[in-house]
């Protein structure tokens, strides 16, 4: 790859990339794309890829075999997209190795196998195959960040540029001042996607106002919650989009220092982002004097080793600095004193990925999406026994009921919805009868629920509220960094009380002790994680109080999950 020296060189490269991209789809050949991402690898996508490669060469089929990222439809993995000459691309789900030869044979016979198709990438139906966008899982989605996920090769900067990538960065770099960039971000009312929902533009502006140098811009791709996997899918499917957002952030702060902190356990996300950074350096979109503009930017990737706390801002910065990731008291806020005690702007992966579209289309366009206070789109993941499990991107304002029953298809047969755990481990659940609430940052708060990072868990009658609450609090206990006492000692105390109740040794006053201890933990903990650790428990207690009381007074667990049901003696385990 040749390093591009100026904007004209980039335009030429982009034109060539686009021409190549269009040729790929118009030439007289088969184009077969296999979704390779964390979830599909788990379901055998690599074998499907190898098998396809073998059968294509054995059958002498002139074909281009590509890898793409994740389309979000985990339920249909591994998926294969086939573009035959004269046909639009058709996406096939559940393409395990045993189905590969059968599919290829059928296609050669001219049989498009509509029964295996998820949909066709076209505006209308094609030989009995409905458009992909009409699939129930995709119909209610609004895809900005995932628009090209599952279409472009995440390890190819050329693919990304062919579909219009890095245009927003160039627009900012050559046509806008850093102040104008920040003004657009402010106008978009984009709010932090990591959970807290702080307005991004205001954060950038305060970072810009702080005079000390150097400044740092950091992507938080740690993602350690037990029910969220959206950031790593984004990095696996379109890493350049995140990198472009980071570059625009660095430009707005006029700093050459960008970081991405990626959880060490997300190996593929890490590898693909690394590759993206290397390619951007090779092409001259990173490094010194980018495209002759005089602006320089360097991106470093740092990883952690499995500590949930490192997702907290100040802890994450200590982790980058090679210290134990433990939070500190605030103020000073990190925009004043963050990484290496310099002004640092830290945003979630998804926040950065939203930036290019804002710069490209304008802040007011973005603000027109979603609701008034929660603008734009949100990546959400739903876990539990739902029909269409996966990552979805929705406009804010969709109701929780629509999200569960329309987008994720409701619960699978034989399951009855009991509730939805919201906000990762940082908020309470919603009962089945409370689901008509719109998904935005404000509407969920009065109910003790939260959008958080967009990780929702649907649970059914087979889940015991007491046991689930224990699971969620036990997570916080295990992941407590141990720095401050309320969290270090408070969360084990809550788990101990819950264990007592689960084992049939609960006392009526235990419920008061839970309230009392939780209040202490919430008010006295040092960082956000401690302050919200008791929330899931308090939420469960409020929503399913009768179940707690049943455990205590009747020594009965209606779900049959708790050890009381089995008559097991009290033992303290994890």
């Amino acid at each position: 790859m040749k390093r591009l020296s100026d904007r004209a060189a980039f335009e030429q490269y982009a034109a060539e990339a686009r021409a190549r991209w269009e040729r790929l789809w118009s030439e007289d050949q088969w184009v077969i794309s296999v979704g390779i991402s964390g979830c599909s690898i788990a379901k055998g996508a690599l074998e499907t890829y190898r098998n396809l490669s073998l059968h294509l060469s054995e059958g002498h089929i002139p074909a281009v075999l590509r890898q793409v990222g994740c389309g979000g439809w985990c339920f249909a993995e591994p998926f294969v997209e086939v573009k035959l000459p004269g046909h639009p691309p058709i996406v096939y789900g559940w393409m395990t190795t045993d189905r590969v030869p059968e599919l290829l044979d059928a296609l050669r016979r001219g049989d498009l196998r509509p029964d295996w198709a998820l949909g066709v990438r076209a505006a209308g139906a094609w030989h009995g195959i409905p458009p992909l966008t009409e699939h129930p899982f995709l119909r209610r989605q609004r895809r900005l960040l995932l628009e090209h996920a599952g279409i472009i090769d995440p390890e190819s900067i050329e693919d990304f540029i062919a579909i219009g990538g890095y245009r927003a960065f160039l627009k900012a770099l050559f046509e806008m001042t850093p102040e104008e960039v920040i003004a657009e971000v402010k106008a978009s009312n984009l709010r932090g996607r990591g959970g807290a929902g702080f307005p991004t533009g205001i954060k950038w502006e305060s970072g810009r106002r702080t005079p000390a140098r150097p400044k740092y811009v950091v992507v938080n791709s740690h993602e350690g919650e037990p029910n969220v996997f959206k950031d790593r899918r984004l990095l696996e499917s379109n890493p350049h989009l995140v990198l472009e957002g980071l570059l625009i952030g660095c430009y707005a702060l006029e700093t050459p220092c960008g970081y991405n902190y990626i959880g060490g356990e997300h190996a593929l996300a890490l590898q693909r982002f690394q590759r993206a950074v290397e390619q951007a350096y090779e092409l001259g979109l990173l490094g010194d004097d980018i495209l002759g503009s005089g602006f320089s930017c360097h991106v470093r990737i740092r990883t952690g080793g499995g500590a949930y706390i490192c997702g907290e801002g100040s802890a994450l910065m200590y982790a980058i600095m090679g210290q134990r990731g433990q939070p500190r008291t605030k103020p000073p806020r990190s925009v004043e004193e963050g990484l290496w005690r310099r002004p640092t702007v830290l945003n979630n992966t998804e926040t950065f990925a939203s930036i290019p579209a804002i710069i490209q289309n304008g802040g007011s366009w973005y603000a027109s999406l979603g609701t008034k206070e929660s603008t734009g789109t949100k990546l959400v993941t739903m876990q539990g026994p739902v029909k269409y499990l996966g990552v979805a991107e929705i406009e804010f304002g969709l109701s929780m009921r629509e999200l569960i029953f329309d987008v994720f298809g409701g619960l699978r047969e034989g399951y009855r919805l009991k509730g939805i755990q919201t906000g990762g481990v940082s908020a309470g659940p919603l009962r089945e009868d409370e689901l008509d609430v719109p998904i935005d940052f404000e509407a969920l708060t009065p109910l003790g629920a939260m959008v958080g990072s967009g990780g929702f868990v649907a649970f059914d009658e087979s889940v015991c509220a007491v046991d689930f609450a224990r699971y969620l609090v036990a997570f916080s206990r295990y992941e407590s960094c141990g720095k401050c006492t309320p969290c270090r000692l408070g969360t084990p105390a809550l788990v101990e009380i819950l264990d007592r109740i689960r084992h049939g040794f609960g006392r009526p006053e235990d419920l008061d002790i839970i309230q009392y201890a939780s209040k202490h933990i919430i008010e006295l903990s040092l960082c956000g994680l401690g302050q919200v650790a008791p929330m899931p428990l308090l939420g469960m207690l409020e929503r399913f109080r009768d179940e707690f009381i049943e455990h205590i007074t009747e020594r009965r667990c209606r779900a049959g999950v708790c050890p009381i049901a089995a008559g097991e003696p009290l033992s303290v385990g994890r």
Binding site: F75, E265, G306, G322
Partner: protein, 181 residues
């Protein structure tokens, strides 16, 4: 057990030294500190754990104290300072897996296989790491990852037992092969 003792003694530091010299060349002390965790990950990738010799080498190479290195090794859940068993099982205990019953699998492991402090079975066959985050393969819940590549989905206590038996059987076959050679 003997294998683990051997693993403890015989550590070839050469590959780690090469990686450090190639890719871990900090420009200043600030960057050196940023690289400690990454260097430890390289060591764990090479050896399956971070042996004391490797920790010492990393400390010397990056010019930080050995205390700093161990401070990090003991803070992060992913690092091992003891050699793992022959096989490594990453058991996902995320919310999706919990809903699907991973707690029973975790309990079965603890009671039936008497895991030690470091999660290794007493015969050194298997090291289990219960992963509190999410492996991101929720469609397969409860799910585990064996030896960093093979996924086992819809896991329950029975399937786990079968898996351990399979691993044991392979081990027996493996050692027979050696005697034939």
């Amino acid at each position: 057990m003997e294998e683990r003792e051997t693993a403890r003694r015989e550590i070839d530091l050469q590959p780690l030294r090469r990686i450090l010299e190639e890719r871990y060349r900090p420009r200043d002390h600030q960057e050196a500190q940023e690289l400690v965790v990454g260097a430890c990950q390289e060591a764990q990738h090479l050896y399956g754990w971070v042996p004391p010799q490797a920790a010492q080498l990393i400390a010397e190479h990056l010019g930080v104290t050995i205390n700093r290195v161990y401070g990090l090794l003991t803070f992060y859940a992913d690092f091992r300072t003891e050699p793992p068993g022959e096989h490594f099982l990453w058991l996902c205990h995320g919310a999706a897996c919990y809903i699907a019953g991973s707690q029973k699998v975790v309990d079965a492991l603890r009671t039936e296989y008497r895991l030690g402090e470091d999660g290794t079975t007493s015969d050194g066959l298997l090291t289990v790491h219960v992963f509190d985050g999410c492996l991101g393969a929720c469609d397969l819940a409860p799910v585990a990852q064996l030896d960093h590549h093979e996924y086992i989905g819809q896991l329950d206590a029975n399937r786990l037992r079968e898996l351990v038996e399979e691993l044991r059987a392979c081990r027996r076959v493996g050692s027979n092969d050696e005697t034939i050679e």
